[in-house]
Symmetry: D3
Subunit: 281 residues, 6 copies
Amino acid sequence: MNTLNLPSVWLQDLTWEEVDGHLASDQLILLPFGSTEQHGPAGTLGIDTFVATGIVEDAATRMGALCAPPMWFGDSPHHLAFPGTVSLKTETLMAVVRDVCTSLASHGFRQIILVNGHKGSNLAALGSAARDLHENHLPDVMFAVADPLHLARNAAPHIKETNEHHGGELELSQVHFRYPGQVRMDRLTDEGADFARVFGGFVGADLFGPAPDGVDVIWSSREQRDFAPTGSLSSSLGVESDKGRRFHEHIVDRLCEVITWMRENDGPLAAANDSLKQQMS
Amino acid sequence: MNTLNLPSVWLQDLTWEEVDGHLASDQLILLPFGSTEQHGPAGTLGIDTFVATGIVEDAATRMGALCAPPMWFGDSPHHLAFPGTVSLKTETLMAVVRDVCTSLASHGFRQIILVNGHKGSNLAALGSAARDLHENHLPDVMFAVADPLHLARNAAPHIKETNEHHGGELELSQVHFRYPGQVRMDRLTDEGADFARVFGGFVGADLFGPAPDGVDVIWSSREQRDFAPTGSLSSSLGVESDKGRRFHEHIVDRLCEVITWMRENDGPLAAANDSLKQQMS
Amino acid sequence: MNTLNLPSVWLQDLTWEEVDGHLASDQLILLPFGSTEQHGPAGTLGIDTFVATGIVEDAATRMGALCAPPMWFGDSPHHLAFPGTVSLKTETLMAVVRDVCTSLASHGFRQIILVNGHKGSNLAALGSAARDLHENHLPDVMFAVADPLHLARNAAPHIKETNEHHGGELELSQVHFRYPGQVRMDRLTDEGADFARVFGGFVGADLFGPAPDGVDVIWSSREQRDFAPTGSLSSSLGVESDKGRRFHEHIVDRLCEVITWMRENDGPLAAANDSLKQQMS
Amino acid sequence: MNTLNLPSVWLQDLTWEEVDGHLASDQLILLPFGSTEQHGPAGTLGIDTFVATGIVEDAATRMGALCAPPMWFGDSPHHLAFPGTVSLKTETLMAVVRDVCTSLASHGFRQIILVNGHKGSNLAALGSAARDLHENHLPDVMFAVADPLHLARNAAPHIKETNEHHGGELELSQVHFRYPGQVRMDRLTDEGADFARVFGGFVGADLFGPAPDGVDVIWSSREQRDFAPTGSLSSSLGVESDKGRRFHEHIVDRLCEVITWMRENDGPLAAANDSLKQQMS
Amino acid sequence: MNTLNLPSVWLQDLTWEEVDGHLASDQLILLPFGSTEQHGPAGTLGIDTFVATGIVEDAATRMGALCAPPMWFGDSPHHLAFPGTVSLKTETLMAVVRDVCTSLASHGFRQIILVNGHKGSNLAALGSAARDLHENHLPDVMFAVADPLHLARNAAPHIKETNEHHGGELELSQVHFRYPGQVRMDRLTDEGADFARVFGGFVGADLFGPAPDGVDVIWSSREQRDFAPTGSLSSSLGVESDKGRRFHEHIVDRLCEVITWMRENDGPLAAANDSLKQQMS
Amino acid sequence: MNTLNLPSVWLQDLTWEEVDGHLASDQLILLPFGSTEQHGPAGTLGIDTFVATGIVEDAATRMGALCAPPMWFGDSPHHLAFPGTVSLKTETLMAVVRDVCTSLASHGFRQIILVNGHKGSNLAALGSAARDLHENHLPDVMFAVADPLHLARNAAPHIKETNEHHGGELELSQVHFRYPGQVRMDRLTDEGADFARVFGGFVGADLFGPAPDGVDVIWSSREQRDFAPTGSLSSSLGVESDKGRRFHEHIVDRLCEVITWMRENDGPLAAANDSLKQQMS
């Protein structure tokens, strides 16, 4: 199953007949969700989408799976004060997820993995939409929502050297490795937000590090321009291609394991659906 | 400021004139969001709301702050197969948050803390709605979203003795302590979900413990009834009032510190809004 | 059937197994809808919700029925200029009704009574949502919408001594009786709106009295603050616990008769659904 | 002001320049809302709209006011089982009201009267939309919602001879008088619903008569076809043109008084808006 | 089939029993969609609706078909700066189309023709709603969307003498012929928009003539008042009843052919639905 | 102005500071909208998006303008029965357009060109959203909606040799030229739909050719699979790179002229906005 006899892993590069043929033997698809959002002085606006497309393309290639085309726009209100940022309402993104997944399920796709490159920020929309779809509309489609924050939860601290937040070392290294040219290596910066001063010690400065007993303090893009004028929330001085490779490959490795498990899964999740199908028929 | 000269901390127990008077000296309000959702054989359907109301009432009493009445319905599709569970669509809950916060802001409330007792599950709606409100509609209202999962992130492992997930030791202990009678002590169970078997090692079994490099696997309520027939996802055998007290008091303590910080905050978040106000005037 | 072998009539105070057991013998549930809205100088903001919860709790207790937790927020735009008032958009409240009733119907509840304590104002949302649900989504669930205005249509004039409108004698007496402490007895007032002057004789000043051949004149909360600065639209000087008791008990008595009728109903409404079921099977 | 120097009272029959000229001296407009809904064996599907257009045309002609074109579709789910009935969702009708009133207000209309011919059933949408518009979007537009049920509340019992409900004596007489040919005089019927049997004594059989202490029992169109197979809920045998004339003229007279009052109103409602304008300027 | 034994072709002028009887032999219905929108100094605001009602009434009369009542409000934002214009949001109009067609389909109507008199402007809403309905909700209802722009695509140039755009020769002639009195013959004008100057040669000045290789330039109603102060975008000096008759009759003739084809259609469109019905049964 | 001193014309390939700098001298942006939709046996699912991205990239490069990242999903319900097709609801696509344009306008973009590669089908959403945005929310942003159907209206007949509809000669030639590899040259087909048989002579078979006096007949994807089993609606046998080049270059040339005009425009559209700005300041 892991050898894809197709010209591409990308749905948009295939004809409908090629997709039709592939569906006979595999029903898994990866959906990359990113953003068009400022990533500090060194990162391009597409960083989050590049993270997502790099991950899904490599995992799909290795596993003989398909990918849907990327969603370039995400849920980014808190960056809107930085030129070039585009933000969808959460409800708009949920509607896109609903419409895309419903379309794919109608063709017979049965395992859908939403891969978020926009660390954290899209998860509200992706997770909520997937839960509603699976509970109320697509009970026999298995959904997973993947994010580098969780796929590299334990591995990241061994790779990075400094705090990782927005526009920082790990995400820029990953894109620098996978899509050379998307990081302005002459614009790396060690300017970041002073989390203690801004958030009173209630918000962690490292997405992969220990965090305080705290709360989620909501900030606006105007406030961010005040407390982080470059748009970078953590130092990017340590960006290196090799770090990016290690981070990226760990994520891809782990995602491939998820794919294998979802394809082969005959555990309780599948069983419940089997009994559902029996009731319905 | 910490002495509330009012008959109650609850908005619903005050007249509009009492609220009007209070607003002259304090503009902070706590909003409890819960759920009506199965919590295994021992926990009542209101557990999540009791968590939220207990926290806000105690913090408000200590700090001389106000609380809005509780929202008893949350985002619970994955529990709908268990009788009595009520679930709102994510969009419905977002609309409630938007309407309630907009109303409160129109009266002059300027620090709004959304306190979620429905561990995790409501956060998509609460966080998304708050980010949109703050960015696009209420730039001069400071928002925080609080959840026991984060307020006791580091403290919880020192209190609990087993994995904590849904219907487990800590949340039932907290409600057993704060609202005696809401836990059926004769129905405690050590039955929980076999996370490894169900989720292939990609989902952590302990919300306060280490988690694998994984993904979010979406499950339906029908599937949950299959893999966790009692509705309990982790053992509740260790429920004790004293554990609940320690967990609860830690959360309240920490929330009080958040309140103090938000009231006194003159850091970058406030500064950005000050400059905004100057531009507008 | 009228003896409830459960620790509480409230859904939130029961475990899912207790609800499951109860559903085997009874499928009726009462849903209290209120508001958080100014009620003049003497009434607390929660008055409408207390009206609703008092009614459903007493009727449910007597009849061995269940109650859902209260909805504390209602459709109150015309009171927003008074601090503490919270108003949902009509569409938001309709969405809540739809989601809650759909959840309850999925468990097997078959008679749903929406009990409105927010005299009149929520009825647009409750009635519209119930009609849509029953016609298009839940044909075999029987719905009723109850309001003190209608349950005590004929009885009220025999109990009250003055015009009854917003924040007046009857509703405050009812809450004063049922929830002592929720009415500031030292803040009763005979200030009310001069309906003739404000509404030109086209709007009745007494919700339980004769009304002119007129129209519904829409007023804003700003206008109300102008023509009724205390928020009271009718005199509350006559508030007495005993009046409240008589008003409340009449309503509960009558609601219990509705419950009996809905449970036993085998008339045309049930017959149509029986034939519907035959067509579907 | 009461002499309209225009070819028609209907907006659709005027050019924009004619409307522009009229707006210089009068800013009141009447909006007729009806339905396309079964009215028993004798009444045409357009009865409700004919009621509304007849009322607004006659009042506008007498008062020199303008009318918007009619909205032929209303909120009629409970009649959908009868061929020809068209029903809008309540939310759809609210959106229409919002868009139409916002358009008219942008041209300078300042008194808007929504006239409902669909007795009762559209009022949820019309009233809710108007309250939201006036509170949140159009504070300086005065809104009234008019319905024959209220404009003839006291007069109707002196005109009609039997119970009046759906498809009955008064509404058919009114249309028979105003739009001859819209009532099939050879299909009048004394078949109606047996309210006591169907609704257990909790719903009144006469919209203009005394009603029991009761509730609103929601019925579906399928149920109605069962308990009232002809679609008529009250006898139409007494239909007479002269009754219709008396009923219609009373309503028009009263509506003209409302128009006069709204045009001349300098009471509290206008005062609040004057102070609003002062604050804004 | 072409002889309608009914008092009227209009749904609103029939009783439900008359519609029920007609449905036994014919399931086609025409829905007229118009607007209330400025049409220059000579055309009334209702011109578009009159175009639609004139067409459907004449085609229905000739073919023994039914018509639904007109929708007087359309999608007209770009005319809002001219007094009297009413515009619905595109989403509102789509909701109306959805609700009306769903209602009609529930009665057994199987061929629905949406007839747009508002040249072009409503087509986005009508076409989008119809495509969604047919694909996702009403697969066995055949939909067509008709517009004079397309029904007279080839015929119009032989009738008109000048450029035809908004408020011009052909549409005013059509209404002048069909509804005498709706065109102010003493207000005809040769003032129109200078398309080359305003739109840089990228937008055609004649809806029935050759157009440049261009784009759709979006203009606002404020801009239109600037570049076409009378509201007329093309000369109306050539308005004549006989031109209107020829234009109108051509459209009606062609629409009657469409009706005949839809009624008798047993081609691929019907075949696909037949196989669909087989699968479902 | 036509020399772009930036690493890329694509927003996603630039940092926010690079965008910020560019905005100082140019405020025009091109937005490509496509689809993921079957294009017969030879065309890949991404054809429409490739059309759009090829056009905007080449025009932007020549003119020194910026492009937003592509929207890969469009309004394609009528193709859903062919595997791989993804369709958004029209309302979803409208929400995306609204959110993206609002974001871009907040940064100072003042000329927005929506470029549709999904011939015709997305235009309802794009045009409706743009009209609403320009009239009601973004009066000082100039919008144009571009589509190959209109940009090559006159040129196309001179390039193509056969009827052009879906999956045909011209669109495949264009993508074959611009993105070699996206057309399976060994799968070209002369199978197309028999328009006369399917649509009764009321729908034209050539999007660039003469069309009958007709209507828009709505077809579902199931019906299309019946009448055009390959998904191709017109012959693709004539696909040639050189034809594609001529078609593409004509479109790009013409779009560049639109860009020049929009940038330099000081005609009536700009004048209206100037006066608007004067009123607002």
